[in-house]
């Protein structure tokens, strides 16, 4: 076996990884079908899609670059406030709002990444938490602009691109959110399977070795932090556009903690962890909550403990994998 062949093999292997898995086709087709088949659940599905996007942005940090964050809601909330204020003062066209929110949150991410990237995991936890608390307090203090604890209302939501009305149209607004999520998932998939994405995983695996093979660690981490912040901002903007109020809960600690929880339940490092986690979390919240409104959190906590004990790396997904693996082994046996 010569060297040419080995390189060829690894390229083929990487291309194979980049290609879409059949489950992904099924997932997106099912998501598209749900627009028509599940009209009674559109509001819940819209929330799941938005949380998924938010969790995806955290997955880019945690799952691929190994940056832990307890303050990711800072960018989510910032994007939401920017989108709402932009809609109130300039135009209520949603796509423009998303772009503006994405850029604004990205810039905030770029600026704060310099603080976050100093130090190790524990320092990062503290710094990200601190940034989110500072953002929360700013939003609370500037109540002349943000409405403070009363929330920011009166945001106009015009038809998307002037033709597709989403205000008070649950089906349309779900379709809109789903399309935005699909585009951003597609982009994220390209990012993580690009050389850039692989360099992030190298940094996550061993920063010293990564830098010794010529990867500019800090620049790469700043870039991914900016992208993740921008994604979070767009998720926040989507929630602002589909809920008629932006309030301090968009930016509070609970939101940062919940998104981390969802991502861990779903599993990190394969992009869809946030989808699985947020779907399980919100469906559990809704259906267990309908039976026992006060105690649904108990079951979520219980699930988290079980997952942490038995399926650490990929959350519930690895439980499926184990079952699938077991089934395959059964088949392999004569």
């Amino acid at each position: 076996m010569n060297t040419g062949n080995t390189v060829q093999d690894s390229v083929t292997a990487l291309k194979k990884k980049r290609a879409w898995h059949w489950l992904e086709y099924v997932f997106w087709l099912a998501a598209a079908a749900s627009v028509f088949l599940l009209p009674s659940q559109h509001a819940l599905l819209t929330q799941i899609a938005i949380w998924s996007l938010f969790a995806l942005s955290l997955d880019l940090l945690l799952g691929y670059a190994g940056i832990v964050s307890l303050g990711h809601a800072a960018y989510f909330g910032f994007g939401a406030y920017v989108a709402a204020l932009f809609a109130i003062n300039f135009t209520g066209e949603p796509i423009t709002g998303l772009i503006v929110a994405g850029i604004a949150a990205g810039l905030l991410g770029l600026a704060t990444s310099l603080l976050v990237l100093r130090g190790t995991d524990l320092t990062r936890l503290m710094v990200t938490l601190g940034i989110a608390l500072v953002m929360y307090e700013i939003a609370n203090q500037m109540s002349w602009l943000t409405g403070g604890a009363d929330g920011l209302t009166g945001m106009p939501v015009n038809p998307v691109l002037g033709i597709f009305p989403i205000y008070f149209r649950p089906a349309n607004s779900y379709a809109y959110v789903l399309i935005v999520c699909f585009v951003l998932f597609f982009v994220a998939k390209r990012i993580v399977h690009s050389p850039f994405g692989y360099s992030l995983r190298a940094i996550k695996g061993n920063p010293l070795r990564a830098s010794s093979i010529g990867i500019p660690n800090n620049l790469r981490l700043i870039a991914v932090y900016t992208i993740a912040a921008s994604y979070a901002g767009i998720a926040g903007a989507l929630l602002a556009q589909t809920t008629p109020v932006v309030s301090l809960t968009y930016i509070d600690f609970q939101r940062s903690a919940d998104v981390l929880l969802m991502l861990i339940i779903g599993g990190t490092g394969y992009l869809y962890g946030g989808v699985v986690g947020s779907a399980l979390f919100l469906v559990a919240q809704k259906f267990i909550g309908n039976i026992t409104p006060q105690y649904w959190e108990f079951w979520i906590g219980f699930a988290l403990v079980v997952i942490a004990l038995f399926a650490r790396d990929r959350g519930v997904f690895s439980i499926f994998e184990r079952i699938l693996g077991a089934l395959r082994n059964d088949k392999a046996k004569p």
């Binding site: 059949w22 099924v26 087709l29 099912a30 079908a33 749900s34 088949l37 599940l38 009209p39 009674s40 659940q41 509001a43 819940l44 819209t46 929330q47 608390l133 307090e137 609370n140 203090q141 109540s143 409405g147 403070g148 604890a149 009363d150 929330g151 209302t153 008070f168 649950p170 929630l239 589909t242 809920t243 008629p244 109020v245 932006v246 309030s247 301090l248 809960t249 609970q254 919240q285 909550g289 309908n290 409104p293 006060q294 649904w296 959190e297």
Partner: protein
């Protein structure tokens, strides 16, 4: 596989469709959306307990219709409140939305109420502007201004000339400060200093030192309920109680639900509010006894009467329309409605759909070993001062 997921989706739709009961015409549903998890759980529990108590006492059949209460938790998050309100209307076909523990939660739901023409009974949230956000909103709780303005009137009448205000630094705190300062000034009083305490880290010690230095006649305080206990403890520790400075404020600081845990430090605090567990009417005595019996370990507070009266208003509106659930007819029935609540006589202002009620001045005293807000003066028929000013 594709077909399988389609089938699963179909099955789910069928299930969702099947969950709408066949007897929809005979049942009138009330969707109660309250925070039952998260930091505002106590409010939600009080609202739910009171709503259930009313239905237990008055039966579940009104004007020939069966009343069903659907309770949902929004965890204090506006996007959840809006989503749940939409689902309750679309999937459960509720005829009333009720609850709303905090201002943003009510604000997020207002456009939904307008759009679907469904009456929305605000049982807790207290910012003045809420009722202006939809013609389908009525409020059975209170507005922040009602208590803040009345305590200013009372202070001005009772030889309090110089006041320092101390509020939690968030929007309701700012409102409570402004309402009080403006009213107190118009009555000839002077606010020497206005202090704001961060919401995240309520340590009052440095602020109380400044109060001590300013030597006012009284310290006006507004904090979310619960935080009041820390303040009162530090008030006594710093010796402010012996300096002759009185502690006054809207009734949120001496919330009946948490007051028993405050200790003797709270004795003598004078507040203005719409309800006290100790309100000496026969109706209230009966209410408190029934509430405590149904919910051992809980004491009904001002949130609970908002819930109790909210369900009462819904019942009465249905009686007036003969069981018809047309939103506009129900609103007409609710406007101007007057009744005797455990808190005293109340009514719904036909113009603003906001509550008109007596505001009581109370002093914290110990009765049978427990702390109570004991009423000693009252200001009848108080409307929301913010809206009154706008005219």
């Amino acid at each position: 596989m594709l077909r399988r997921s389609f089938l699963a989706a179909l099955a789910a739709t069928a299930l969702a469709a099947g969950s709408v009961p066949a007897a929809a015409q005979e049942t009138v549903k009330i969707g109660l959306i309250i925070p039952l998890t998260g930091p505002f759980t106590t409010t939600g529990k009080q609202l739910e307990a009171a709503a259930r108590l009313y239905m237990q006492q008055n039966g579940t059949t009104v004007a020939g219709k069966k009343i069903e209460l659907i309770v949902r938790d929004d965890a204090g998050r506006a996007e959840n409140t809006a989503r749940i309100a939409g689902e309750l209307i679309q999937n459960d076909k509720v005829s009333f939305l009720a609850g709303f523990g905090l201002t943003p939660l009510a604000m997020a739901t207002a456009p939904i109420a307008t759009n679907s023409k469904i009456p929305m009974v605000v049982m807790m949230a207290g910012t003045s502007i809420i009722t202006e956000r939809s013609p389908y909103i009525v409020r059975t709780s209170f507005t922040l201004g009602q208590s803040a303005v009345i305590i200013a009137d009372w202070a001005a009448q009772n030889k309090i000339k110089k006041v320092v205000t101390l509020v939690t630094d968030y929007a309701p705190g700012h409102d409570a400060e402004k309402s009080f300062v403006d009213q107190f000034k118009s009555k000839g009083g002077e606010t020497v200093e206005s202090l704001r305490v961060p919401i995240q880290n309520p340590d009052f010690a440095p602020f109380l030192q400044r109060v001590l230095d300013a030597k006012p006649d009284a310290l006006y305080v507004f904090t979310p309920s619960g935080v009041g206990a820390i303040l009162m403890k530090q008030f006594v520790e710093r010796g402010l109680d012996k300096s002759g400075i009185r502690l006054i404020g809207p009734g949120d600081i001496t919330d009946d639900d948490v007051l028993p845990g405050f200790g003797d430090a709270a004795i003598g605090v004078v507040t203005a509010h719409n309800y006290s567990t100790d309100h000496p009417s026969a109706k209230n005595k009966e209410y408190v006894a029934a509430f405590k019996k149904a919910n051992p370990g809980m004491r009904p507070n001002f949130a609970s009467v908002g819930g109790y009266d909210g369900i009462h208003l819904i019942y009465e509106a249905l009686k007036k329309t003969g069981g018809k659930t047309d939103g506009d007819a129900l609103l007409t029935a609710m406007k101007g409605h007057k009744w005797e609540s455990p808190r005293g006589p109340i009514s719904i202002d036909p113009e603003t759909r906001d509550i008109v009620q007596t505001i009581y001045i109370r002093r914290v005293e110990k009765k049978n070993g427990e702390l109570y807000n004991v009423e000693f003066a009252s200001f009848p028929d108080v409307k929301d001062p913010v809206k009154a000013q706008k005219k």
